[in-house]
């Protein structure tokens, strides 16, 4: 009995190792995507403030560039305003300014992993909900995946699980924007009907078919068009407008979040 106790005391570290390793591996392989996300947001309460502090420091160094971007956006808005004023149709004017956007800061971001995520510093307390579209002055970024209380996790275009309904500007044929890893400036549009007339250089915008994004938010430019003989669909390579490695401020589309269509879709599936 005594020697058994001695043995246990001497090799207690082996039992401790087995315990700690089991906990780690259970966390690593046992957790499904939802639990993993929950870990990220609960950890977010702790790590979020430190990551936000880093982003604070970084944003000081990026002020000049940020100013340039704002100036560019201003110029664009001004020219758009002129067009609106030129053909002043009251109805369309209202449909343009209608919309509600929350401004959020990106506090954590990655582009080089196979599955990237973005953390923003707005959450449920600011009216952010799952499924809201996220974009910046240049183009589409992603969709809110897991809103926490103060922070939210965004599923960006640069994630294998992202799929955003898009169309070619000025036409009605639409497909889905997807990404398969690798180059963070390129994504693909799949399931575009075969007969559609698309040329490199055409602009890709959001279709407005999902409630995440309003219509006509810029996405990117068509680089090349491939025909997939197998299923009579086109596959487009798209050069993204948004530079995903350099996003600091984003807009979250909080307007028109009518969950019903999405819920109906989920029920159908």
């Amino acid at each position: 009995m005594r020697s058994l106790l001695d043995f246990i005391v001497k090799y207690s570290y082996v039992f401790l190792f087995i315990l700690l390793e089991s906990v780690s591996l259970a966390l690593l392989f046992g957790s499904n995507e939802r639990q993993r996300m929950a870990f990220m947001t609960s950890a977010g309460r702790f790590s979020g403030s430190i990551l936000e502090w880093r982003s604070d420091v970084k944003s000081y160094f990026g002020l000049r560039k940020e100013n340039e971007k704002l100036a560019y956006e201003n110029a664009m808005l001004r020219s758009r305003l002129n067009t609106v004023l030129d053909n002043i149709e009251v109805e369309s004017l209202f449909s343009r300014i209608e919309g509600d956007y929350a401004v959020a800061r990106v506090i954590d971001n990655s582009v080089r992993k196979d599955d990237n995520y973005i953390t923003i510093n707005k959450g449920r307390a600011d009216g952010i909900e799952r499924g809201m579209g996220v974009f910046d002055s240049r183009g589409v970024i992603g969709v809110v995946m897991l809103p926490g209380k103060k922070y939210s996790i965004v599923l960006p275009v640069l994630n294998g699980r992202s799929s955003i309904s898009c169309k070619i500007s000025g036409s009605n044929s639409f497909g889905f924007l997807e990404w398969y890893g690798g180059n963070p400036y390129m994504a693909y549009i799949v399931d575009m009907p075969f007969h559609t007339d698309i040329n490199p250089g055409d602009t890709v915008v959001t279709s407005g078919f999902s409630s995440a994004f309003p219509e006509n938010i810029p996405v990117g430019i068509v680089e090349s068009v491939e025909e997939e003989q197998l299923n009579y669909m086109l596959r487009l390579t798209v050069s993204l407008f948004a530079d995903m490695s350099d996003i600091r401020w984003v807009y979250v589309n909080t307007h028109g979040q009518d969950p019903e269509p999405e819920e109906l879709k989920e029920e159908l599936q």
């Binding site: 207690s12 570290y13 401790l16 190792f17 700690l20 390793e21 906990v23 780690s24 591996l25 259970a26 966390l27 690593l28 392989f29 957790s31 639990q35 993993r36 870990f39 990220m40 950890a43 702790f46 790590s47 430190i50 990551l51 880093r54 080089r112 995520y117």
Partner: protein, 174 residues
């Protein structure tokens, strides 16, 4: 040398975690190599620590890194394994008459053995790290490239720090 106090060890851990998550995790050379210098914490465990203490500290720094990177259990699993193997790896690079070593460093081991020790600890940790991360294992060549490049990068940083850290070692225990 007196044993490292709890507070000092905790301070070192906080410093290494911040360095890792605020700076090093942003580095991705050639898309493959990310330095994981935080294992310096485990590399410097002194032999007077109990095995249980090593395991708990090793697990702890891993799980804190995981909280920042959103990878529950990944770093914790690897750093716990390294904390288990660290005493064994140290003895591989020591001659029999120097088993009283307190902290592995150039002064206590000599430059050559220290380099070997740093390389092996890094290789062990990174191999487990990338295998765990890539399960289910897909492309072997990419996996090997990630292990090799990241090991080299972390090793070079640790070697540079290990070789230059000695002078201050005479005054401080860490």
């Amino acid at each position: 040398m007196e044993p490292v106090s709890f507070l000092r060890r905790f301070g070192l851990m906080v410093g290494l975690v911040l360095l890792q998550v605020l700076i090093l995790n942003r580095i991705s050379l050639f898309g493959y190599a990310t330095p994981m210098f935080y294992i310096w914490f485990i590399v410097r465990f002194e032999s007077s620590m109990t095995r249980n203490a090593m395991l708990i500290w090793g697990f702890f720094i891993g799980i804190v890194i995981d909280m920042f990177t959103g990878t529950p259990g990944l770093n914790a699993a690897c750093s716990t394994i390294l904390a288990l193997l660290q005493p064994k790896i140290v003895t591989l690079f020591l001659s029999k008459d120097r088993r009283d070593i307190v902290v592995p460093s150039r002064d206590t081991m000599g430059g050559g053995p220290l380099a070997g020790y740093l390389f092996l600890t890094t290789l062990v940790h990174h191999t487990f790290y990338f295998i765990f991360r890539s399960i289910p294992l897909g492309d072997w060549t990419v996996l090997m490239a990630k292990i090799v490049f990241s090991t080299l990068l972390t090793f070079l940083i640790m070697l540079a720090v290990g070789m230059s850290a000695d002078r201050s070692d005479k005054r401080r225990s860490l």
